[in-house]
Amino acid sequence: MTDAELVRRTRSGDQEAFGRLVVRYYDACRRFAYHMLGERADAEDVVQESLLRAYLALGRYDERDQFRGWLFRILTNQCRNALTSRGRRSRRFVSDDIALDAAPAPAPLATGVEDRLVLRALAQLDPLQREAVLLKYAEGLDYTEMARMTGAGESALKMRVKRGSERLRQLLGPAWQAPGEDGHE
């Protein structure tokens, strides 16, 4: 059954259909939110809030849109809101130099510690860069899709991906196999 069909059914009051949409998209939403926010509880709250807003906004959903993209648009917005309100409460981001010295040397890649490593590195990115890097490299979107989702221009998005990637290379690079000395263009 297509997403569009499930949406149609949900609109006409079929709660089963909505349950199936949740089953389809919950994991993808949670993975993204977890990497954006860095904490599981926050991620689950945001996912639930996003699903609630999606449910309430189904009247505005255009079936020609990809449902996943539409849902992710809501999700990225909710993640931004969560970060903004969190930022107001406490300053998490210290100056780059101090953060680098204080962070323990990244351990070599091992199963299970990867997410802590990556999350710590992602947390040090500007939220917009973090979002762009995740959409590009974790979600596999192209810049056109990213522009539609975030409302930003493609150049701005490319800049954020570029800067975010360089920052991540600084933070995570020592833990990777050293890329070949050649091969840079």
Binding site: R31, H35, Y137, A138, G140, S155, V161, R163
Partner: protein
Amino acid sequence: MSDEGIRSLPTDGELTVDPVLADALSRQLAASYATVPAATAAELAACTRAVLQAATRDRAVRGAFRRRWWWGGAAAAVLVLAVARPWHPRHVQQEAHAAMQEAMGAPATAPSVAPVGVVSEGPGGVVHFALRLPAGARAVSLVGDFNGWDAAATPMARTGASAEWSAQLPLTPGRHVYAFVIDGTRWLVDPMAPQVPDADLGPANAVIVEGAF
């Protein structure tokens, strides 16, 4: 921290990410994504329930269905359904409790009935089901996943003087779930045979038929 800057539009080359770096990031993020566990059935159900309940409250407050004139009626219907539907967890727990009590070694239905079942396997994968019922019954059926749980499919034959009932049928190797239906309406399980509980549907039995499976 704005990264748009005032400088002139960067060239495409300046915006390009080193492909080796892009590849490494993609792989690292994919690995990190993979460590996030899939939501359990319970988590998914809880999230769905929470959203629907919150939405019901929200709609009542926001009147979000003013968009279309007929959505008001539909919303009212959904509200009534959402309130009247037994979504409350306590309801499920009560049923689960009752069903568990039925299956927990005690006879499944009326206390006067203490069925004794025997299942044995003969040659050719033919399985013999026998059931002894102390109280009289007019008709007993064997139902299970091998006959679509259809009480008409495998009626059991009364054998012997006391109320012993039996049926036999060929079953493919592996696990089969079954139960007995008395007089067309009363469901019974063999308390000694392996229990297959289900909080929503009620108890059944399992038999495992030999063979390569």
